[in-house]
Structures are given as structure tokens and as C-alpha cells.
């Protein structure tokens, strides 16, 4: 029913080109609103870091706003704003992304500024020291003083033994403190090169007019050596791992993470549907059972880290209700996993999950920003064309597939359980 709607695949309208210096360009015209979003994502993130320099990708992201010979420190965002635009950036395990969104007649400004900072960063030592302090504050805000994020960090550090996904994107505090200008310069020269970037423009423009402008601004930036590949492979987990974290908090919290394949493996579609069966909306099994029926959890759910360069986790989480215990919650989460293994899911429930995915696919196209983000993410972790395989892959999933992937991957030996143990709050 929804099928014919979503089959008007948005990917069919993407125009791909690669400049001679290796910069990949993806253009998608969307004329419903007079706005445009320009994204440039670099293939570098926490995955490319080593112990001792964690947080380097993220600090460099901050430094990208701190001045080139053409644009003074802090001026980048001011220029964008003066033009009615919004800009920002983000760093993940797999990538570092930058974007500007504004009225479509400003598109060239973004190209000019992004081309300038791709190779023109000054990395002034004073600015580096000042920005390190800002990032340390960011870490305090987002992780150290937030018990749930601190728990997630602890879980990931234990779930991965050898793969850099064990490292927090923001970096360990002592690593951030120890980062030096030299580290940034080396990293910038290695990764911020056209052959390690993808440029995505989505919105109200004409591709045939825009491409020459892109060539004009980026074409003369020389190609560099391809950055070194990350070769780490996480070995198979042979037995459950546990991590406890004691922090000042009111309520216990439980995370569970199972190692699963990513979107490059055929099982990804069944895992995606399974994530919706377990936690899609208020009728998802985990919410319905733990939050609504048993009232063990204040909120609970899960997800699937599918769009990831290397295999990642299938996380489940629950915030424990007052008067209940982490053990009860853990057992209830495990029971939901076991139920999927032991009972075939009904046709209606399977259809419901697929309907949610199909509808979500369409809702997600309402914003040019989100379209650009999706294209960029697929391109970085695999290839943007893999997005095309998403809905057909989802539609082909059967109840038997769900049972099989649950039995294969969601086993106690393959998981890490992290529990937050609240220490008394000062009152």
C-alpha cells in the first residue's frame, strides 16, 4: 500500500560526480522550499584515533571554526548568520560533518567558505589551548555530569576490546588535556583532503549551474595520499561482560549491547525490523511490557547501530522505576529477547514494524537537512547507493528471519551489560 509511494526512491534523483582531485559530489534537487543545505563530511572520526589521542577528531572539528588566513577566528558562523543561515558540525565514530543551511541564493557562500577551510586552517596555538578548555567543559556537560551517558561510555569501553569503537568520540578527559597543536596539524593534513571528503548539496538549486561553481571552488585543491585504513577487527566475544558504574543518581539504569553485523551484511534488514518489533512506538514489545504492563521501567527501548563502517552494537536500555531493581529490569529485557527466539512473530506485528519503517522513510524526507544527512551517512559508511536497498530489503524480511537473527546474535555470551548504581544524592 505504502509501497508505491516510497518506491519513488529519492536516490533515483541524486546526481553523483567525482572531481579530478577525488572529491565526491552528490547533488539532490528539492524545490519545495526556497532553502538549500550544504554538507561536507570527512571520512575521519573516533575510529581513526589511538589511545592517548582520543578526542582529536572532535577537537579538530571545533578548530575548523577558529580561523584561516581568509576568515578570522569565530567569523565563519558570523558570516553564515549574517546571510540568514545556520551552520554547525558534528563528530561521530566514523565521520566529521559540517553544514550550512540557508535561503537557496546563498549557496555559493558555503562553497567558498568550506573550500577555504578544507586546506587553509591556521590552528593558532592560543586558539587551540582555549578551545581545549571549551571541549573539556563539553565533556563535563555531556558525559561526566550525566550518569546515563557516562554509563553508555562505560559499556562501549567494555563491549569492544580491540576496535577503536571502544573510545568515546569526545575523548577521555586526560587525552583532551594532553592534545597538542602538532597532533592537530598532522591529523588535518592527513584527513582534510578532497579525496577523503564528500560534498552533498540538497535543496532548491539547479545542478547544472551548481556543479561548475563546485569545480571552481574545490577543483584546484590538490589530491593527497589516501589516509591509512583502520585495520582493527573486533574478535568474537566468548562470554558475557559486565560493567558497573557508581555515580550520584536517583534511579538505576541498565544498558545491554550485543555485537551485530552492520548494513554491509544481509542480516541487517532482519535486525532493523527486529529493532522496531522491540522498540518501535508505544506498542513496541519493550515499552509495552517493561513500561506499560509491568511498570518496571520509566522508559525503555533499543536500537540498532546499522549505519556504521565496522560492525557495531544492538543496544537495549531501561531506566529503572523507584522500588524496582536493575536485576528485575535486566531479566525482563532478556525475557523479551528470548520470546523472539521462542515464538514466531505474527503477520500483523511484522507488518506493523514494516509500516513504521516505510512511513518513517517518508517522514524523514521532509527536511533537506535530513536528506543530506542520510545521503552523507550512507556514503561514508558504505556507499550512498546502499540506501536504495533499504526498503526492498526490509520488505523481504520474514518472521523466520527475525527468529534466526535473534538466535544468532542476541545471545548472553555476545553481550555486555552495564548497570548504573546510584549513589545517594546530596539534598
Amino acid at each position: 500500500m505504502v509501497q508505491n509511494l516510497a518506491d519513488a526512491q529519492v536516490t533515483a534523483r541524486v546526481a553523483e560526480s567525482t572531481l579530478e582531485n577525488g572529491l565526491k559530489v552528490l547533488l539532490l534537487e528539492e524545490h519545495k522550499a526556497p532553502v538549500v543545505t550544504v554538507h561536507i563530511w570527512y571520512r575521519v572520526g573516533a575510529r581513526n584515533e589511538q589511545p592517548g589521542i582520543t578526542g582529536l577528531s572532535h577537537l579538530l572539528e571545533h578548530m575548523m571554526f577558529k580561523g584561516t588566513s581568509m576568515v578570522g577566528p569565530g567569523q565563519f558562523s558570523r558570516i553564515i548568520k549574517k546571510n540568514g543561515g545556520r551552520d554547525n558540525a558534528f563528530t561521530s565514530e566514523d565521520y566529521t560533518g559540517y553544514f550550512e543551511t540557508f535561503a537557496s541564493d546563498r549557496v555559493e557562500l558555503a562553497l567558498k567558505l568550506e573550500a577555504d577551510r578544507m586546506r587553509g586552517l591556521l590552528l593558532d596555538p592560543k586558539e587551540v589551548e582555549s578551545e581545549k578548555k571549551v571541549v573539556m567543559e563539553e565533556r563535563r556537560l555531556r558525559t561526566d555530569d550525566d550518569p546515563v551517558s557516562a554509563l553508555r561510555e562505560a559499556m562501549e569501553a567494555v563491549a569492544f576490546e580491540s576496535h577503536p569503537y571502544r573510545q568515546p568520540v569526545i575523548g577521555w578527559m586526560t587525552d583532551i588535556e594532553g592534545l597538542r597543536r602538532g597532533d592537530l596539524v598532522r591529523y588535518y593534513n592527513m584527513y582534510y583532503v578532497p579525496n577523503n571528503a564528500v560534498l552533498i548539496v540538497v535543496g532548491d538549486f539547479k545542478g547544472e549551474e551548481l556543479l561548475p561553481k563546485i569545480r571552481h571552488y574545490f577543483g584546484s585543491i590538490p589530491r593527497a595520499a589516501d589516509p591509512p585504513a583502520v585495520r582493527a577487527v573486533e574478535p568474537e566475544q566468548r562470554g558475557e561482560r559486565r560493567v558497573l558504574l557508581k555515580k550520584e543518581a536517583e534511579l538505576p539504569f541498565v544498558f545491554m549491547g550485543y555485537h551485530v553485523p552492520n548494513l554491509k551484511q544481509p542480516d541487517n534488514f532482519a535486525l532493523e525490523v527486529l529493532a522496531y518489533i522491540l522498540s518501535g512506538g508505544k506498542s513496541g514489545r519493550i515499552y509495552k511490557s517493561l513500561v506499560y504492563e509491568k511498570q518496571l521501567a520509566l522508559f525503555a527501548g533499543g536500537g540498532y547501530e546499522r549505519e556504521s563502517i565496522d560492525p557495531n552494537l544492538f543496544p537495549l536500555y531501561a531506566s529503572v522505576m523507584p522500588g524496582k531493581t536493575a536485576e528485575e529490569v535486566e531479566q525482563a529485557l532478556t525475557a523479551e529477547i528470548e520470546r523472539v527466539k521462542n515464538e514466531l512473530i505474527s503477520d500483523r506485528e511484522l507488518q506493523k514494524a514494516k509500516n513504521q519503517i516505510e512511513a518513517g522513510f517518508l517522514f524523514g524526507q521532509d527536511s533537506v537537512f535530513n536528506l543530506a544527512r542520510q545521503l552523507a551517512e550512507y556514503e561514508i559508511v558504505a556507499d550512498w547507493r546502499t540506501w536504495e536497498a533499504y526498503l526492498p530489503g526490509i520488505r523481504a524480511v520474514t518472521a523466520a528471519d527475525l527468529q534466526r537473527v535473534a538466535k544468532t546474535y542476541l545471545t548472553p555470551d555476545n553481550r555486555t551489560v552495564a548497570v548504573l548504581i546510584p549513589e545517594k544524592m546530596k539534598k
Binding site: 532553502v35 535561503a103 546563498r106 582555549s130 578551545e131 550525566d146 508505544k282 506498542s283 512511513a359 546530596k426
Partner: protein, 448 residues
Amino acid sequence: MRRYGWTLSFSLSLLLLLPVVVAAAPLAERQILENGLTLLVRSSRALPIVTIKVTVQAGSLWEPAERAGLADLTALLLTRGTTTRTAAQIDESVDFIGASLSSSAGRDFSEVDLTLLKKDIPKGLELLADVLLHPIFEQGEIARKVRELKAALRKRQEDPGEVAEEVFNQLVFGTHPYGRPLEGNETSLTAITRNEIVGFYRDHYTPERTFITIVGDVDQREIVSRIRTVLGSWPKGKGSVKRAMEPAPLQEKIVVKKVDRRVTQANIILGHQGIRRDNPDFYALTVMNYILGGGGFSSRLVERIRERNGWAYDVSSQFSPGLEPGSFQVVLQTKNETAGPAIQEVVRELRRIREQGVTDQELVDAKAYLTGSFPLRLDTNAKLAGLISAVEYYKLGLDYADRYQTLIENVRKDDILRVARIYLRPEGYVLVVVADQVKAAFSESDKR
């Protein structure tokens, strides 16, 4: 991430620029049904999806102080069962069509939101009408929701920013609804009875107190007739209802409240009462506040506290205007040890903008952003629905997009100075510091 989201006032973050000509078309078509229900429709045919937002004059302003949380509880329970559907059946029906349905209360109004595919409009409207017209408020569901809300209030104590916000509002607004959490508190939640919920629903959820905003792939006439079919028989309200009016003015002095927590950062809020949304100075204040602390990396506070000193990741100022004067606040987090100097810097900036106003360049840049970013407020169905409903609720007129341009453009330097002097009060504010107080020790002289 390198920075924080934007919130400027009640989700009115702000509008369009350039020599771009804004469409002179109204934001939506308005139609009023026979029972007083107002419909606002905006067709947007790019994707086969629809967003529907129901806005009801039933915020916490309308609840009695000893029943704090009544408005929120009533709104949340709408989707937890009707005379013909259980909560689980509602959840399943919504999820089966890949839709989302949620309801919540705010201080000024309550909302029910539905996002769905165009093809599911008949089913979606049937569900929406059912939760609006026939909620059952079953005792077991009330008890469940009350337990959840009490747990949520407890969990919120884990977040030092939320703790600061709660303490700040209480000190600035006292017993006024703006001074308390929407969820109420342990005591008031325990006290609320089913009869009170039913009564609140009956008195406030009536068609003449409600409007519905529809944005997406719809034909105006067709959707109006569909809504008339399911909601046309919704009976008008009978009684008159009362609400809390203006909060008592804040005393003209500095009030400092410290909360001790084992945290690495001091969470600081400094501010006082602000303005009502219908205050004509709203536009001059918007420009002033953009320059002071609302404009992210273009603001003075970010420049001084983050860029120059590296004291904070996030610092911002905002007015939160509502039907009644909301707050003005400066919010920041900094390691315990730099709390004192950061607060000093904030007060210095408040004084500076009151004494010296702003430069020509700052004014030009602020207006360029505020007017130029307008298209970004209209580029998704959800944003459009939010803007249209706010414009309708606060009676700003469906020509708001065009008027906003003019109102912002007309702000002059002396307006900025005037509003800064009236509405910023560096001599009489509330300062809340949630921190490890031993490490964050700052002397009383720090805040002068």
C-alpha cells in the same frame, strides 16, 4: 557537536532575510466550524504526509495551585484509553499505520500531535476525534501515569541543569503556575482525583477553546469537510473558566540560591521576570537578546565566556514570553572553579548593553539573521505547524511572516537601549548555582 540548539522564546526561533521577497500569502487558511472549532490549513504537496496539531486553551495556567500537574495529567491521559479503545489498542492502531500520536500540556496551552501518511487520514482522524471527544480517564491508567510522573520528577534530580531550572522558576514566579514544573509535585499528584481530571477535561476541552492546524498533502475543502464529519458534533462548552493572571512582581533585589551536588560543573541560571508575548517591545527585545546571548556564535556572551575565556561550552540568554510574562534568563555551565568569574562576566555584559547599547554593525547583522533565516522556519511540515499554531494562539495574525520582517527591520539603536534599560535588571535578579559548593565557592562580591 560544537554547539547547542537554538531556542528563542516559545519555539519562535526567528525569521527571514535578504533581499528575498517573502511570499505575501497568509501562513494558512482559517475556517471556523459551526461549533466554534477553528481550522487552519496549509497545503504542502511535496510528500504524501500530513501533520496535525490540536491546540487547546488548557495549560497549567488554568489549574489550581493545590492541584499542580492537573493540566499535564489530563493531556497525557487523552491517549490512554477512550470509551471504545484501550490504551494498548490506541498504541497499536497508531503504530500499525506508522503514525505518531502524542499529547502534552504546556503552561499556556495543551497539544495533541498527529503525524501520518496521507493515505491514512480517515483512520487517523477517527483516532484523533476519539481521544479528543471520548477519553475515559480510567482509574488504573491514572494511577499508572501518576507513578510515572513521580518517577520522572525524581529522575530529573539527576540533571543539574533541570534542578537549576526548577529552583530558578520557583524563586522568580513563586506560587504562579510559571513557577512550578508542569508535572506538579509528589503531593499534588497524590491529591488529584479522577473527578477533578474529568472536570478539567469537561471545562477546558471544548471546540471554541480549540484550534487545529493541518499542514501537508491535503486539499483544504476536503480536509475541512472530513474534520467537520468527525468533530462537528463536539458540543460547545458551558461554563466560564478562570486562569492565573499576572505573577507577583519580583522583589527588587539580588537573590542567590546555592544547591550542593557532586558535579564537575556549576550549572548557573541568572535572570528575572521577562515579558508577555503581546508586549509591543517583543521585536526590539528579540534583536537586543540576539546580540546579548541569543545569537549563538554571534552573541556577546558566547564571545566573552566561551571564545575569549574557554569557560563554557554553552552559554545563552533568552526571554520566554507567554500569555503572562515568562522569564529572562542567562544559562551557562562551567567547571566549579570558574563559576565566580563567569557570573561576574555575565553581569558585566548585562550592564554594558544597558549603558552603551549596541553598535551599528551588531544591529545590521542581527536584523540580517533574524529576517534572513525566515525560510528555515517554514521548510518542514512540523516547523510550519508549530509556527502557525503559535501565531494563532498568540493572535499574531496569519500575515505574520511579512509583518515580522517589517517589525524587525524597524528596530533602531535607541529602541535597543530603551528595552535593555527597561527589561534587564542587573540590580535585581535571581541567581541559582547548582554545583559542588566547596569547589565553586565565590564570594558575594563576585556578583556585584
